[in-house]
Symmetry: none
Subunit: 221 residues, 4 copies
Amino acid sequence: MMGDENGIPSLVKNQRLVQERRRQIIQGAFTLFVRKGFHKTTTREIARECGLSIGTMYEYIQSKEDVLYLVCDHIHTELERRLREAVMGISTGKEGLTRAVAEHFRLMGEMSDYVLLIYQETKSLSEEAKKRILDKEKEITAIFEGILQRGIQDGTLTLEPSFVKLMAHNIMVLGQMWTFRRWALGGHYTLEEYTRRQTALLLSECTQGDLGGDYDDERES
Amino acid sequence: MMGDENGIPSLVKNQRLVQERRRQIIQGAFTLFVRKGFHKTTTREIARECGLSIGTMYEYIQSKEDVLYLVCDHIHTELERRLREAVMGISTGKEGLTRAVAEHFRLMGEMSDYVLLIYQETKSLSEEAKKRILDKEKEITAIFEGILQRGIQDGTLTLEPSFVKLMAHNIMVLGQMWTFRRWALGGHYTLEEYTRRQTALLLSECTQGDLGGDYDDERES
Amino acid sequence: MMGDENGIPSLVKNQRLVQERRRQIIQGAFTLFVRKGFHKTTTREIARECGLSIGTMYEYIQSKEDVLYLVCDHIHTELERRLREAVMGISTGKEGLTRAVAEHFRLMGEMSDYVLLIYQETKSLSEEAKKRILDKEKEITAIFEGILQRGIQDGTLTLEPSFVKLMAHNIMVLGQMWTFRRWALGGHYTLEEYTRRQTALLLSECTQGDLGGDYDDERES
Amino acid sequence: MMGDENGIPSLVKNQRLVQERRRQIIQGAFTLFVRKGFHKTTTREIARECGLSIGTMYEYIQSKEDVLYLVCDHIHTELERRLREAVMGISTGKEGLTRAVAEHFRLMGEMSDYVLLIYQETKSLSEEAKKRILDKEKEITAIFEGILQRGIQDGTLTLEPSFVKLMAHNIMVLGQMWTFRRWALGGHYTLEEYTRRQTALLLSECTQGDLGGDYDDERES
DNA sequence: CATGAATGAGTTTTCATTCAT
DNA sequence: AATGAATGAAAACTCATTCAT
């Protein structure tokens, strides 16, 4: 079996074709998974949505679960790519953190469907696939860990080293929280207010004795 | 149709029996939902697990979805009951917040399976049932809102009124986070460390100009 | 086993009670069978409709099919009773025929639900029960045969003896036809017009050379 | 959805295949419906009888009710086709009526199982499907209406125009009567005798003042 | 490579009937 | 006699996957 990109084998050898078809599958499946959830979406529907016959689709995957993995993996890859893009060429750790948090929150606002999907359907993956997805999540979190550490080193951030990891996860979760609690928050705060306030909370922990700073505009409002 | 407790009708009239059997169903179903998820658990498995024949089980529910609702509703009721219990007879708002957060985190540690289930399976409920579940979540969050407001009134807490709701949701989410990020946090922090640190983060926001304080007594207890 | 009225055994010995309860069952079941058909009506629904518990109902019947038989039998008994009533104390055969046909049509108009039920659900009975129902139908038909024969004997009707039976069945069917073709006839004819015209058709065959007579008002209109 | 012949959608696209498989389904289902009735026949039995797997069968229908509709529709189509064939190229209205009635009775004799099925199971169809079936029945009845009208116009038949429709329905019903009263008539008359006698009855109404004629042989026998 | 018809195990749900109380 | 909870066989229908063309 060929076509082992992403660890999912395909019967088709032509790698360019595999890539193109999988792109179609991911796009079609994503739309449906968001609308109806993984279990309530049938393989037939996926095939129809992405413009392939059911037979052809199965040339590029081995099971319905593979589709879920492809979708989840694609989401993470996209998130990581966008986040790295946003924090490239940053000088100090503090500035990097501010920017990265802002970008992360913006991304979460844009990609809330994605995040929801990850939260709700990851458990349907096989142990192996689940591990790969969680590893990706760890890698993304590690971006924030890196920024935090840089800030500690360059003296712009104050944080016990042993809690760097926890803060990185906090950043991740407070970002995702906008998507999975929108049913409660949406009516009371705009994404902007939400971002401003949560960023303040996060930074307050990392800039003790240095109150004010980047977000003082917020304090005044 | 009789037996309308929880809004789920039952064919059986004897209310005591309905309550007892539903307790069985909830318990059996919960075990299985945690282990395999809602969709991968069959009604026959639920019946077997809770010691009822399939026919008998259907005397007490109307559809498989009802079982999910019963389970989710029970979880929330339990969470709310325990949380209210923990914050009864509290004097100042600040003390109440500290205790409530500690209890909430302890509960989340104990009931992580429950929380995970709510996060992953709520979407499988009908719109109506989903609304009822989310309303319960709002009610629980409102407990924290109440405590925060009391603290603002008695002067022991500092917080802009418009962000009381957000802080309450933050408390909820940072508590739940322990359950849905245990795969990443479990290896690095104990629940105790996690609780201490997150409580500090939360309180720092509500006790500005009053750094330190309440949390060393907690260390001693 | 006691209570063998109608050939259906009952567990209950008190004959008066059996009769009363069965009356309830017939009435409740009839309503439901007309509305939803035999197969789509459940025994629970029948019990509820007739004000008995399911357990009690089963003290008076042995199976759901028994209920259908009781209903069908009751319909026929009623039809026969009313028809006999209508032709009692009649002098000549011709007059008897005219009256009986008129009464039969009137009855069919009133009891169309009953007739429809017999047509549609008889096949669901056991062979034995079906035979008993068809025998009743034959007995009712025989009333018309008797009238026709009397008419032949007293010279008021003209009909080959070998076709007496066919004419009796024709009378039965043209009466029932109003019920099972009402979807087509109802919009075009009133029951009165229908009766007048069909009676004319039937009588014309039995009164050759004696045109006119009882129905000449119809010829003129 | 493809394959919308008859208004019943099919998942299979190849129209020739749909037609062939539905032919199989109709044939198999018809046999079973006649033997056991619609409700007592299971979908698995139908599938087995027509040589398809249950899954395959459901590629060509959407529900069990669809099978009933297909069967009923096929019966009517067949009846109509045969009847039209029989009355093609007829000269006078009277001759047409005689031939059409004869053919109709012959058909009813042949297809009595079909007719019985229509009488007993139409009520199990959805309102929409029922309407389509009754419309077909009206169309067939309209064939006789047309013949009667032609006869009135060319002077070979005598009948009040307002009762043309009723007579057409009478013809339909007296034909069908042979099938649903065979349990009573079968022992006493041959189909030939039955046909001769009923035709006489029907024609006597339409040929007043013209006694004798086509059926005088029957008067003598 | 592409297609889509075929498959049948597996799913939820119903309901006539029984029987302990 | 009356009750109604318990039962489980059986029903309709679905859908991931395969494989011949």
